[in-house]
Symmetry: C2
Subunit: 361 residues, 2 copies
Amino acid sequence: MPIKHTLKVDLDDRGYPIYIGTEMLDQADLISRHVHGRSALVVTNSTVAPLYLEPLEKALDTANIRHDEFILEDGEQHKTLASVEAVIDLLLTNRHDRNTTVIALGGGVVGDIAGFAASIYQRGVNFIQIPTTLLSQVDSSVGGKTGVNHPLGKNMIGAFYQPRCVIADIGTLNTLPARELSAGLAEVIKYGLICDADFFNWLEDNITGLSNLDQDLLAQAVLVSCQNKARVVEQDERESGLRAILNLGHTFGHAIETVMGYGKWLHGEAVAVGMVMAIDLSIREGRIDEDVRQRGVALLQQADLPVIPPKDISVEQYLEAMSIDKKAVDGQIKLVLLNAIGEAFVSADYNQEKLLQTLNA
Amino acid sequence: MPIKHTLKVDLDDRGYPIYIGTEMLDQADLISRHVHGRSALVVTNSTVAPLYLEPLEKALDTANIRHDEFILEDGEQHKTLASVEAVIDLLLTNRHDRNTTVIALGGGVVGDIAGFAASIYQRGVNFIQIPTTLLSQVDSSVGGKTGVNHPLGKNMIGAFYQPRCVIADIGTLNTLPARELSAGLAEVIKYGLICDADFFNWLEDNITGLSNLDQDLLAQAVLVSCQNKARVVEQDERESGLRAILNLGHTFGHAIETVMGYGKWLHGEAVAVGMVMAIDLSIREGRIDEDVRQRGVALLQQADLPVIPPKDISVEQYLEAMSIDKKAVDGQIKLVLLNAIGEAFVSADYNQEKLLQTLNA
């Protein structure tokens, strides 16, 4: 069981370890260390199940833990309250008590549904995350955000709920479609942009190796991303202030996802374009120079990510979708902007005219 | 605004005040002290709205807070995830952002639905409770339990979520049906039984005045009940141990409610019978003497509460319903028993044979 890195997320009595490595899924001692009852429910999806359910079930069998499986259809369009209800129906039908553990095996959608179900089943049962996409390894692993979409907005229903542990097996990235690897790299690049200039430089040097699935480089990128996110979340678990910088590119990105329809654009793709838009507005606001755009766009492009917004979204559609975003408070849209590579801040007093220029550009 | 008592519930950064008094609903300064944004949603029901919505709306108008109303059908059978979804639909449709406040105006069902909706809307918005039944004033005011029923079990879906404040207006009890006043007195008596022998004695002396709606006595009973509950919850917010004593009579009571169908028996009525059953088992276990049964039954009867289980529930139905209760862990049913009046404890190693005798009796 080659655990390459163990990172402890420090949140008072809700702290937990993130294990980063390879060949960890079938390890009974690792899983049994964090399953406290005698039963578990594995939530996964139709794409991941054929690839990785068997080793996990083997580990649970070896650890003598009774387990059920819930296999979701793959895709963001299934991230609904109805899916959460279906998970809860299975938990109740199969008599899982409050000592059970819900294990998410899959990407962000699986983690969101499983984590939210765990948070509200009997007012909260144990939860373990086994993220199998780069995006979920660097994003959902830290922060405890769970939730589902509503027709009127993304992630509008959910909870802050921390897992007992996260098992980020880099080996699972070998079967990830190239487009989803790129989407994950968008969030990795985000950490460099918002709070870690050294990491941004490192990414510029290593982006080719990362795209080519070099396991050591990927493990390092996951570690540093999670460290950066943990540093932010530990200071502001419930997003009353600082944590909002993690949303660089997300308000624009969510608007793209909402208007285009969930599932058409990958979240990471929309965030990549959203970050370029945030850079554009930061330049118009006189915060950063043109060279930040050049370096940002170049790195995103090397990671095979889109950098130009879809043509068919009007300014009105952007504003409509952005105003209902969770970051909007009392009608005012807050945005994350840059003062430099590695230095993001949250602003509500940007120039409205310049925002319109960015949306028109 | 005659606030008679203010009790502070002490839960780290989630502590909040409980105001107990009369004529508090239309007081703008009281409500605006705890609404932090510019908007609010009042959740109430079709029975309470005609009586108490107007003064509350007046207070919100005076405080210049934009407000919407959501009026539920009255009754436990509406405590479902569908009701929570409907509340969230209205919040989103009317553009309530994460700075909004959900205000529950009504009894336990309203508080449960509104509180759970507040806890999951945008991963948590502000919540204020204005309980208008004795049961909700002494029970839901403290502890942060919110949730809804599932066809397979009561309160199976929910969250721990603390309000910003509780406004317990004793005047609202004047319009409460006598049967519901009695149901509330069952929970009041419970606090005496589990942890406050002096309060039990006081209740024996004052039960007639309480039943006759003496405002000072009721305010005192609400205060002491909330103090007792707060003392327990402050030590064990998430019910990992001690807090379970608050469930005296509840495992039996929930079984009665589940088997008879939600809404047929009032929760407090089922708990009254459940407490008599817990006393019966405690006597069979040799923990307490027959005189505890006599005093307990006498006090419950003076409060016009049932003390005999419904005849048409079989032992098998009890065991089936009790085994799916949240208090069951790894198949073992935990029960709250008494060592004395004012001294409850949680037990999993009672004699199974004696439990069957109690269920048969």
